[in-house]
Amino acid sequence: MTGQPQLEVLAPGAHAALQDAGRHGLRRVGVPWAGALDPRLMRLANALAGQPPQAAVIEAVDGGLRLAARQGPVRLAVAGDAVLDLQTADGRRAVPAWCALTLQDGEVLTLRSLRRGRLAAVAVQGLAPAPVLGSASTYARAGLGGVQGRALRAGDVLPVAAAGPGPNLHLPQPPAWNDGPIRAVPGPQADHFDAAALAAFTTTAWRLTADADRMGVRLDGPALQHAGAREIVSDATVPGSVQVPGNGLPIVLLADAQTAGGYPKIATVVSADLPRVAQLRPGATLHFQFVDVAAAEALARAAEAETRALLASLRPWWPGGLDIEALYTGNLVSGMLHALAPASHPDLD
């Protein structure tokens, strides 16, 4: 083994890009925050991989991401409800998400699919891409951050650190999936809609269309009638803004959204629920529920408390160095993958 270990992207899957907590302070010159669509996954993955909390991760959309260790062992962790397999000299076997993994030189990790949601965060020990304007987050439209300002491609090689000795952490109880309504604060232009449109907004089962990317997701349902003008003099948009263009079908803006827009915004999805919107697949449905600003802020604080509790719950895999790989091989043979069930490895800290 020569030189610094590297992580090679063999395939990016549907979409994968480097993201961190985002680029702040430049909205006034038109630069969106960008950053992880699901920051909780980023923080959990980083903690599992022994990375700083805000270090850049590979945020993968849907399945298909394939990563190979080159020139040495690489430690990484995948946060997300991911089906993973590891290809070694001895063959291919399933490995779990929500835990630290070490790829030996030449081994390949494949994110086959996601059981739920669309997003997974892959943190890699020693991954430290150079920040651009204060952040490594990829904002491809203006070529900022990431690898040469763009999403990952097959053949990209990321310099990382050699896997250190540290504990192999795992998350005993991954975050629960929340199927509840998406909370949103009415406004800033709720007054551009009449009572019937506001009622329809919260009673409709909105269908996610395939027209979805890091800028936003388009919803399908009954067209919302504007009470007045269908355009406003452009004002600021925020991640979570729900724009209603002339056709009456809402668009929820996400991390890469333009910083200003001329469509009335009926509501703003609360920050705690925006990752849940980004996680929804085309064809899925969502309901909106109105909350006021104080309640939205309380939801943000509750979500942060939940994230901190999850971070505090990380535990070493097993005391005494039990061969976890053997455990997994055994599970695969039996056709079951229940090693992550809390009962199978009680906490012994």
Partner: protein
């Protein structure tokens, strides 16, 4: 810029000249009563009226400056950034560090005491533009809509000194105005999926330059080879609100030369700043 409200009032005494602005006079004539708009749990907007007016623009700038000073003095912990637009200021905050209930009285006090002193120096720019061939695919349409010849549109557009109202939409993207009435027309009914970087575009009373390739619904009159945003520069955005911009027509060959030189870093963008203004 001291008290635009008076000028506006005088202008509105001649309704045939300023019909659109007169319509919103009640809102801007009382700039002390802006609206507070909810924008979720990480932002709120202070709105100074529904339309583009000098008074609203002035009020936005004054509040923005007051907040910037307060932030620099550590008086607004938890405020992340602000976003000035034509007629509103949006304040972004961290709901884990502060709250709307804490911030609103502080911002209200700044609003009450903002004296409107705008410190930023105004820069004047003369930016090259190519109106030829593929550069201005909507030039002929725009001329037809105005009942003018293409040359007249070019002459009118390049003779107009535009003011940068705000930056937004894309990094470095300037919203500039106002266009001569003859060039004002609504957006395209069918937005383009791909507007080339550098496109100089018009819609309603506004003119903009797309710094990046993007979808877009404005009419494309020409192309400007000057990079409007470069992360490597100490101040990445070339233009700033308040700046004045006038376009200088150049032939296609010169456009190509300038574009190559600008992309290669061989031209300092300051070249296009008008000296002595």
């Amino acid at each position: 810029m001291r008290f635009q409200g008076v000028q506006l009032l005088q202008a509105c005494a001649r309704p045939r000249t300023w019909p659109a602005r007169c319509a919103i006079l009640p809102a801007v004539s009382n700039p002390d009563a802006p609206r507070w708009l909810d924008a979720g749990d990480m932002a709120f907007t202070v709105e100074f009226g529904p339309a583009i007016t000098p008074a609203a623009l002035h009020a936005v700038g004054a509040l923005d400056a007051a907040i910037a000073n307060a932030m620099a003095a550590g008086a607004l912990p938890g405020v992340v950034e602000t976003m000035p637009t034509f007629r509103s200021l949006t304040v972004f905050y961290d709901p884990l560090a502060t709250s709307r209930a804490v911030l609103q009285p502080v911002v209200q006090a700044l609003l009450d005491s903002a004296d409107g002193a705008l410190a930023a120096p105004v820069q004047h720019w003369r930016l090259p533009i190519c109106y030829e061939g593929d550069c201005g695919p909507d030039l002929a349409d725009t001329a037809a809509a105005a009942g003018l010849q293409v040359d007249d549109v070019v002459a009118l557009h390049s003779a107009t000194r535009l003011q940068v109202y705000m930056l937004g939409f894309l990094p470095g993207f300037p919203f500039m105005g106002d266009l001569p009435v003859a060039l004002q027309r609504p957006r395209r009914t069918q937005p383009r999926v791909r507007v080339p970087a550098g496109s100089v575009s018009v819609a309603n009373q506004l003119c903009a330059i797309y710094p990046w390739e993007s979808p877009g619904g404005w009419h494309l009159l020409g192309r400007c080879p000057v990079p409007l945003f470069d992360a490597r520069r100490p101040v990445p955005a070339l233009l700033a609100p308040g700046d004045r911009v006038q376009f200088q027509p150049v032939p296609w060959a010169e456009f190509q030369r300038l574009q190559a030189a600008a992309q290669g870093g061989d031209i300092d963008p300051a070249t296009w700043r008008e000296a002595g203004r």
